[in-house]
Symmetry: C2
Subunit: 117 residues, 2 copies
DNA sequence: TTGACGCATGCTGATATGGGCATATGATCG
DNA sequence: CGATCATATGCCCATATCAGCATGCGTCAA
């Protein structure tokens, strides 16, 4: 393993897990309660295998848990893993609240990412 | 664009930008104030080209801005882009605060009293 | 102008990823 | 047991990504 390691495995980090838009959508959907794979896949317009793969990643970082229910497997949210992310970003709160010296003016013409959900 | 698109470009999404541990470290360092590339590279134990590349990604999603200062190029934080992330994760706050009905028990590594609802 | 310095880029190699698809695995029912 | 739904996996492909290295480019000093 002198390898070059292109990137830390997505499966090992919550930050990476939620870097995927579709995985974020899954999490949002699961706020409404546990759901079987097929239903999630359908509501998000992805294939069943696709949903399963994303769910696996989410499960491996602990953001979701699964439970057997007959033939189905119900996935439910375990958002505790998101807390570190919330806190980490929170560490920058004062930097977007305080109107920087001249930062505000400087950046006036920029367009924030604005990707809210 | 018939492509299979393996993943949304990192450069287009803040979530992706902060999925990289080293980039997060850069952001943390920049809270202390603007810094030239070489200094960042040195403090984070990465090569100068490496730092430049990460800084580029951060710049393209708007998390940092740069300013010429003689031969140097000073990078400074613009954390506003982190706000959406903070808010998105915040949308899950109640899920890690409220002690779920039986979630708490369930997850604490034990079996519920057979009370499966 | 010539260097030296500071930083950005381009290129390569190894690997991680996500999507599509076919198929294995599991569980339920007749 | 065999048929069938519900999921998980394995494979392949195209692409994204990261690290290392060499090099291009702009700036400042002599």
């Amino acid at each position: 393993m002198i390898a070059t390691m292109a990137r830390a495995a997505t499966t090992s980090d919550v930050f990476n897990a939620i870097a995927e838009p579709q995985r974020r959508e899954i999490l949002v959907l699961l706020r409404a309660g546990e759901r079987p794979v097929t239903e999630l896949a359908q509501e998000l317009g992805m294939t069943q295998p696709g949903a399963s793969k994303h769910l696996r990643v989410l499960r491996e970082v602990g953001l979701v848990r699964d439970r057997r229910a007959g033939k189905q497997r119900l996935y439910c949210l375990d958002a505790r893993g998101l807390r570190p992310v919330h806190e980490w970003t929170g560490g920058f709160e004062r930097f977007w609240n305080e109107s920087f010296d001249r930062l505000d003016a400087y950046v006036q013409g920029l367009r924030p990412t604005g990707n809210t959900e």
